[in-house]
């Protein structure tokens, strides 16, 4: 199979943005059995629309059924899985072996992917799942380059690896701190992210175990060379700006790697864009070596709120050479911003005038959600975005 760029989608809007900005596939959660229990998630009706939308574009939808089941959770599962098969989702992502058994015993026609929650790090464990009929493994985020290569070589399974986004401090599936401190079950989608809290120690400074994020842009060629089939971006709770920015950045890098046209300049630019878009620092984490103190935070949450997303393009008025946008964050006359989208080269733009829907000229846009027009010679498309100018390419 070709190299797949796999995006998170917390709802239908995010799914459409993920595909628009270049994802080959998305992973989504239903109202039940998914590890983001408090996200908006998808009803079965939403899923039908999502799959139909994706398949029309020759793209794929994977559904997470990746909680660890308790006795009470099993009710309705078989019917749910049958519905997913009828909807023709492209695979289910599973961590509980009971779900695999049920699919096999009931002959439900669903492709099975093993979730990263199962923390597979070696070829023998991967083979156990292969023998159960699993088609793909989402490897543990702790997998080293050598581990990935060996698992591929020995099993031939499709391998999916995270390339970008938040990291657990723990092996995924091996933490119940949330259960203990908040009674919210981490392995059933209720994780309260206790590993991002601060702790006290009697003799020494404040203790924290918070991990920085994952960022694999410097290793994409190696990942392809050792047989990674799917490049996964974390973040079903993230907004459309994050999804658009991260997916477009990886889309362009992957395409350039495949076309053998990637340069160091491309990577440096991508790094700057991604670092600005996220609210934590990032690094390749486990791929080459064990993370050190430099891949952690020690003084609690050091996250920065991002207000770079200034506007979403609604329509381009070619006749009057104007672009209508929906404001998302404050901007004003004199600001230097940039526009980006899947079918344009990112370009800078200085705001000289701002027009509101009443055709009045205003100097400051400070009502998020308001529809505003900017003069624009270059044609733009619906769903292109305007952001704070980050860096010259």
């Amino acid at each position: 199979m070709k190299c797949e760029l796999l995006a998170p989608a917390g709802d239908l809007e995010k799914l459409k943005f993920a595909f628009h900005y270049g994802a080959d596939a998305v992973y989504i959660g239903g109202q039940n059995y998914s590890l983001r229990a408090n996200a908006k998630n998808f009803s079965l009706e939403d899923m039908k629309e999502a799959v139909s939308f994706a398949h029309e574009k020759n793209k794929k939808v994977y559904v997470t059924v990746n909680i660890i089941f308790h006795e009470e959770d099993r009710e309705g599962l078989k019917e749910y899985l049958i519905e997913l098969s009828k909807i023709k989702v492209d695979a289910v992502i599973v961590s509980d072996v009971g779900v695999i058994s049920l699919i096999n015993e009931e002959h439900i026609p669903l492709e099975i992917h093993i979730s990263t929650q199962s923390s597979v790090l070696n070829a023998k464990a991967a083979k156990y799942y292969k023998d159960l009929g699993v088609k793909r493994i989402v490897l543990a985020r702790e997998a080293k380059k050598e581990d990935i290569a060996k698992i591929k070589k020995e099993t031939g399974l499709e391998l999916e690896c995270f390339v970008h986004g938040a990291m657990c401090t723990s092996f995924s599936g091996r933490c119940i701190l949330s259960n203990v401190l908040t009674n919210r079950d981490a392995n059933r989608g209720g994780c309260a992210q206790i590993c991002r809290w601060t702790f006290e120690n009697e003799e020494n400074p404040l203790f924290s175990m918070t991990s920085k994020d994952l960022n694999m842009i410097s290793h994409l060629e190696e990942m392809m060379a050792i047989g990674v089939n799917s490049f996964k971006v974390e973040g079903r709770m993230r907004g459309i700006y994050y999804i658009a920015t991260v997916i477009l950045t990886y889309r362009r890098l992957i395409d350039k790697v495949l076309n053998h046209t990637i340069t160091d300049k491309d990577r440096v630019y991508a790094e700057k864009i991604l670092n600005r878009c996220a609210n934590r620092d990032s690094s390749p984490q486990f791929f080459e070596t064990l993370p050190t103190e430099k891949e952690q935070y020690f003084l609690g949450r050091e996250e920065v709120s991002n207000q770079d997303f200034l506007g979403l393009v609604l329509e381009y008025d070619a006749k009057n050479q104007k672009v209508w946008i929906e404001e998302r964050n404050l901007f004003q006359v004199g600001d230097v911003v940039e526009f980006f989208g899947p079918n344009i080269e990112t370009f800078s733009y200085t705001i000289h005038t701002i027009e509101n829907e009443a055709n009045e000229m205003i100097s400051i846009a400070n009502h998020p959600g308001e529809k505003l027009a900017l003069p624009m010679e270059k044609p733009l498309e619906k769903y292109d975005m305007m952001r704070v100018k980050i860096v010259d390419k």
Binding site: Y128, S170, M209, E293
Partner: protein, 261 residues
């Protein structure tokens, strides 16, 4: 013969009815004391609790024929099962998926391949009863000992010491200030485990039927084995222990603002 499977603490025992379970050096994390194969008495059980990398699997393949001298093995990585299967090592196989054996649904799937499965300590007594009732073979219970809440591949204590220029330690107590909850972190070269500062004590489960083994982990305990087992058998209250989620059901979907689920 009782069905205690005991991780020893070096104290003397006069009991002839218990089996011993030894953490195997280089294949464990979070223990104070681990043992090489040479140190482990024949006919006892081996414990491998790490999530293994491919290089560990190679080491395992090199030594696993020696496992035939032992009664059985408790392990937490499915790769171990595959190695034993491929090498025709027919010893008792007890799989401990730690947090991933919370229903009969999951347990029975593993029981197709394993001789027993240790059910997760993270579930209520009601859920334990349901599994015992529906399991297709006898399951095992982690009855007493340190309760691991988090297992990280990161060397959290080493990183912490380096960051603040402190002396490196392999064990460190920490406190979560909002809930005044104490934990203990233990690190070796294979990672870090965060435990409850109190040991798990589910001795009331000794009354349950259809249990293959009750695992008693004395890695932290200084008490004599026989004395401690007697306390467990008589349900003697012990300070510095807690009963985990026995009576505490977890939730995973937050209630809406009106408070109704």
């Amino acid at each position: 013969m009782s069905n205690f499977l005991v991780i020893p603490n070096g104290t003397e025992t006069k009991r002839k009815d218990i089996r011993f379970l030894f953490p195997l050096k280089d294949f464990c994390v979070g223990f104070q004391k681990e043992y090489s194969l040479e140190e482990i008495p024949k006919n006892s059980y081996l414990y491998l609790n790490r999530i293994l990398e491919n290089e560990d699997i190679v080491k395992l393949e090199m030594i696993c024929e020696k496992f035939l001298d032992y009664q059985g093995i408790v392990f937490e990585d499915l790769g171990v099962y595959e190695v034993l299967k491929e090498k025709n090592i027919f010893i008792e196989k007890i799989f401990f998926p730690m947090h991933a054996s919370c229903s009969s649904f999951s347990v029975n799937t593993f029981l197709k391949d394993m001789d027993s499965v240790v059910i997760s300590p993270d579930i209520t007594e009601e859920e334990v009863d349901a599994i015992l009732h529906r399991a297709t073979k006898e399951v095992s219970i982690y009855l007493y000992g340190p309760y691991p809440y988090l297992y990280s591949r990161r060397k959290l204590l080493t990183n912490y010491a380096k960051n603040f220029n402190l002396d490196k330690v392999s064990t460190m107590p920490i406190l979560e200030p909002i809930h005044q909850k104490k934990f203990v972190l233990k690190e070796n070269e294979y990672g870090t485990v965060c435990f409850d500062a109190k040991e798990l004590n589910q001795s009331t489960y000794l009354q349950k039927k259809n249990v293959k083994y009750f695992i008693v982990n004395l890695d932290w305990s200084k008490e004599n084995i026989d004395v401690l087992l007697e306390k467990l058998e008589h349900f003697t209250p012990m300070i510095h222990t807690m009963n985990g989620f026995q009576k505490q059901k977890t939730i995973y979907r937050l209630p809406p603002k009106d408070g109704v689920l």
